[in-house]
Symmetry: C2
Subunit: 260 residues, 2 copies
């Protein structure tokens, strides 16, 4: 499994991905799941992937190849003229790789599945964030759904739903993502640091801050420990349940046996 | 889907289950997923179920039938002499129902799957909590794994991992479960109130407090709203990320491009 999140903010976008891949629990490796294409002043495009590693690596390799061959029949990622065109092209490439694997293999299609997060900005277009399905089609983030998660998404979702704010600073967004990743890492062996981060500044049209947070990063430890304490304090601050006062008469007198 | 949790505490056990069942998103109903068998002074046994509703209802009906026929060849739930025997018998019944459905139907076995949580105390035995798999085998809770969840377990797991304490009061345990259920309900349409609760007091050998928390329960609303505020405050209390200070030299200088 994997965990990747792409957040759109008023001031830009923040991408974070883990690096663990596993085939079973006894074959664990570290792989980068984030790839950035850049042409300063013209475009910055970030791609993150979850799913079959062979599939996602093949997709990235194909995209790389095509990006280099400017004269090729198919326009590469560096030649596309809009983020929509990039998403369509990446989706087509993903579908193509999955189809090829399935035709020649003997296993179910789902084995080769992968899901992608694609975000960036290009020319005078808007910043856009897409979630691309194994079928090659995609959905786009909007003010109602301002972030996407792929991979092991559930553990880290509640805090994103509660604390996300489009006006938040990049620093707060990174903090929020670290809390979300920490909850996921604590609950699931298949997600682990180091964590790759790309902070894209709106309208900059170039790669922003790119860095990697290691397992022994002090700040990540502070967040992880601090969040445990803060959660317990938050929990303690909630009103106490009272058997007599917290239930209506009907609720308190509900008996399972009577309905049996 | 469904969400059920069984918690073992020093002073007893707390069971909570939601009541939503759905076939797709346009066929939603309310069903009780908690069943209690009691023989005051002798035994109190609670069963919660997640999975195919026809399967779990058939299991409960079979258990009910057998509990009534004391003279029957197979000992019923009221005649078993230990919680282990109850778990074995319930597991056998579950496997039997799934097998029967699969033999006569044309669909995959997984369609009829169900998972059960069984907890209680019997005679002079200890309180015990079991998670029973569709295959009929089961695992038991222990000090290392003092609670089990079934159904839609991921959203509500981080807070359980962080705030559970075996010494906590029943009131705190109910509060904790409500926070866990609230996170799940907020994230997933297939889990919804009313919530059924059974609080079993250790060594009481009788049904404890049984009640149902409705969607319009004031305390549940206070917890839900309060938790959103408390989470945001907890998040704000964590140290701020700093691009210059929070990263080691190596982490900050990590460039994706260099590895491409």
């Amino acid at each position: 499994m994997t965990y990747c999140v792409g957040l759109t903010l008023d001031r830009g976008m923040v991408f974070m991905s883990d690096t663990r891949t596993n085939a079973g629990v006894d074959n664990i490796s570290t792989f980068r799941k984030m790839r950035i294409w850049e042409q300063p002043g013209e475009r910055s495009i970030t791609l993150m992937s979850a799913g079959n590693l062979a599939t996602t690596q093949a997709v990235v390799s194909l995209l790389e190849e095509r990006a280099k061959q400017v004269a090729d029949r198919d326009p590469g990622i560096m030649a596309c003229e809009s983020m929509f065109e990039v998403a369509t092209m990446v989706g087509d490439t993903l579908r193509e790789v999955i189809r090829d694997n399935t035709e020649h293999g003997q296993r179910a299609e789902s084995t080769f599945h992968a899901t992608l997060l694609l975000g960036g900005q290009l020319g005078d277009g808007q910043m856009r964030l897409f979630l691309i399905y194994p079928e090659g089609n995609f959905i786009e983030a909007s003010p109602d759904t301002p972030f996407f998660q792929i991979g092991e998404t559930k553990y880290g979702r509640p805090i994103l739903l509660r604390a996300y704010d489009p006006e938040m600073s990049f620093e707060d967004a990174i903090k929020l993502l670290l809390v979300s990743f920490d909850s996921t890492i604590k609950a699931n062996l298949s997600v682990a640091p180091p964590l790759d981060v790309h902070v894209y500044e709106k309208d900059s049209l170039k790669t922003g801050k790119v860095f990697r947070i290691d397992a022994d990063n002090d700040y990540f430890h502070d967040i992880s420990d601090g969040w445990g304490v803060a959660l317990r304090e938050a929990f303690a601050s909630l009103p106490q349940f009272d058997f007599d006062k917290s239930l209506s008469k009907r609720e308190a007198s509900f008996r399972h046996k009577d309905e049996g």
